[in-house]
Symmetry: C2
Subunit: 340 residues, 2 copies
């Protein structure tokens, strides 16, 4: 049933039916009610594609993950995607989840939707400046919000939500020092050089020495954490910060296998604060990423860009940069330093 047949059936014009449903334009309340009742009865619902065609808007956004070094749609990103979908829903958008496991090209579906007007905008979670830039360039004209750990200045038409890892890392190191730890190790993957720099800075700010940090090659797996902890234990550390919670779990497992108790003999702290991390034995202290705040900020920024684009199509968009801060979350895996 299209609007023509239905309007004839209701004895009004298509314009009136349209006005009844959209709320735009003048219409008598009684007429609107009559139309609603008839629509209910005959099962008429406006076709969404016709509406979108007309509006040149789809009310759909996509979340896209682009990583240069391997991983992945992991737990951290799953949770973020979930928050974004929720925030977008509250703003009236539906969310298309694009799950690409690598640095692959965006899928044919995303490409098609993005260029053909099927998307109002994209939230891009990226770990390398190059991939982010390539992405923004590929989808010129389409509003893009980049979520990243860095303060890249990006080409036009892209807002940035920057996750300030340094703040949480600084808090974590300060807490570790307060618990009596003086030799603190760090485990990180190649993609986390930024976190490493923040860690070194935090050490300096707390007058602590760098004991050297092993780097996990490739994807940051559980096993990398197990392996890396062995290297660090020979450095006589009493606490270890890991650049992801998965690494931290590996480190806990590796230390436990070597007969160490956590946190009595060794303290472990992660970064990401996965929902899961509260459920490990012992619960894992971690640097928390404010996923809800990130999601809200990113959706809000994207909405702004979409609005701008609607108001002045083709105009160069402003550059919005938002910073969200991470925070240390205390749990049992961080305890007092062993005496002597």
């Amino acid at each position: 049933m299209d609007i023509k047949k239905f309007s004839a059936l209701a004895g009004v014009s298509t314009a009136t039916v349209s006005r009844a449903f959209s709320g735009n334009g003048r219409i008598k309340e009684a007429t609107r009610e009559r139309i609603f009742k008839l629509a209910e009865k005959h099962g008429y619902v406006p076709n969404i594609h016709a509406q979108r065609l007309n509006a040149r808007r789809s009310e759909i956004i996509a979340v896209y993950y682009s990583f240069s070094s391997a991983p992945i749609f992991d737990y951290y990103n799953m949770e973020l995607a979930q928050e974004i979908a929720k925030a977008a829903g509250a703003r009236g958008y539906t969310t298309n989840l694009e799950l690409t496991q690598r640095t692959d090209e965006p899928s044919a579906g995303l490409q098609r939707a993005a260029t053909g007007g099927g998307l109002d905008g994209i939230i891009l979670v990226a770990d390398s400046r190059e991939s982010a830039q390539a992405f923004v360039k590929r989808f010129k004209r389409l509003p893009v919000v980049v979520v990243a750990n860095h303060d890249w200045v990006l080409p036009e038409a892209a807002a940035l939500v920057r996750i300030h890892q340094a703040s949480g890392i600084r808090e974590a190191v300060a807490e570790m020092k307060a618990a009596g730890h003086t030799r603190i190790g760090f485990i990180h993957g190649m993609a986390d050089e930024g976190k490493h720099r923040a860690f070194l800075e935090a050490l300096r700010a707390n007058q602590l020495d760098d004991v050297g940090a092993p780097t996990a090659r490739g994807p940051l797996s559980f096993e990398d954490g197990e392996r890396a902890i062995a290297e660090l234990l020979s450095q006589n550390v009493s606490a270890v910060l890991c650049s992801t919670d998965i690494l931290a779990l590996g480190a806990m497992s590796g230390a436990t296998k070597r007969g160490l108790r956590i946190p009595e003999d060794l303290s472990i702290v992660g970064i990401d604060n996965l929902a899961f991390s509260a459920f490990t034995s012992p619960p894992l202290a971690s640097v928390g990423i404010p996923r809800t705040e990130i999601a809200l900020t990113a959706v809000e920024a994207l909405h702004q860009l979409v609005q701008d684009e609607t108001a002045a199509p083709g105009a160069p968009s402003r550059q919005l940069i938002h910073t969200v801060h991470t925070r240390f979350i205390s749990r049992r895996s961080l305890g007092a330093a062993p005496n002597g």
Copy 2:
């Protein structure tokens, strides 16, 4: 740039441009190439909404979770959604993720898309027959595939992908018996009565006694597992099967707190085989749900329903029922029963 302007620019009719892009209808290869080059040059891309309006198809499906007893978009469901999105992508669909945390009404966005032709179909993951039926009824005319642990016979226009939990549970119990366990406990939530029945059956099949099973009330949380294990330990069990991995983690934690070593003093087995479960200490043996197979099956079934609907709109659709089997995954948390 719309097709009219572009076709004028290319010196052909709109029909020819359409044929060049769609591949339908006859067109000279040379013409098609010329059009592609010009399109590239002038940045012409067919508008996706106009195409969908015409095709009365959107190539979009939604994944919807409907649970009567609390939870939730948890890890298990996240991972399943991820697999579904991947499988759907391979079939040319994009996936809309609908994240409802409860038995709430479907969101306004989903409602609108589903009734207005914005979706070709829905994959519904449900834990109660009532909510599944209500859902199918609400979206009459829309192809729905239900993914569930049960073999509900559903009203027309709905295919079912049934997860046969009993097979993996039987394997798990058999393995536990083979490892020397004779008193095996079970922890489950109220929504998992089906798994409990399968467990009791597996006990009988293995000539083992039922030691009684505590039921976690409400959402299956980590803490429920910790609490339930205390009840079970007084029953002198040497192994415990938990209806979810989260419960199993809680059980491990609760047992560890009471000074028991896993698996030397107590074996724990979960159900779900979360990606995370390989990373716990010790790694958690679990009944694996074949998420990839479920996703592929569900998408394939939905595609069938969509095809049927295209071929004969309004015709009552066949009832497709697929069963996928679960399997026991052995890991260190299941060990030999302690002597005596």
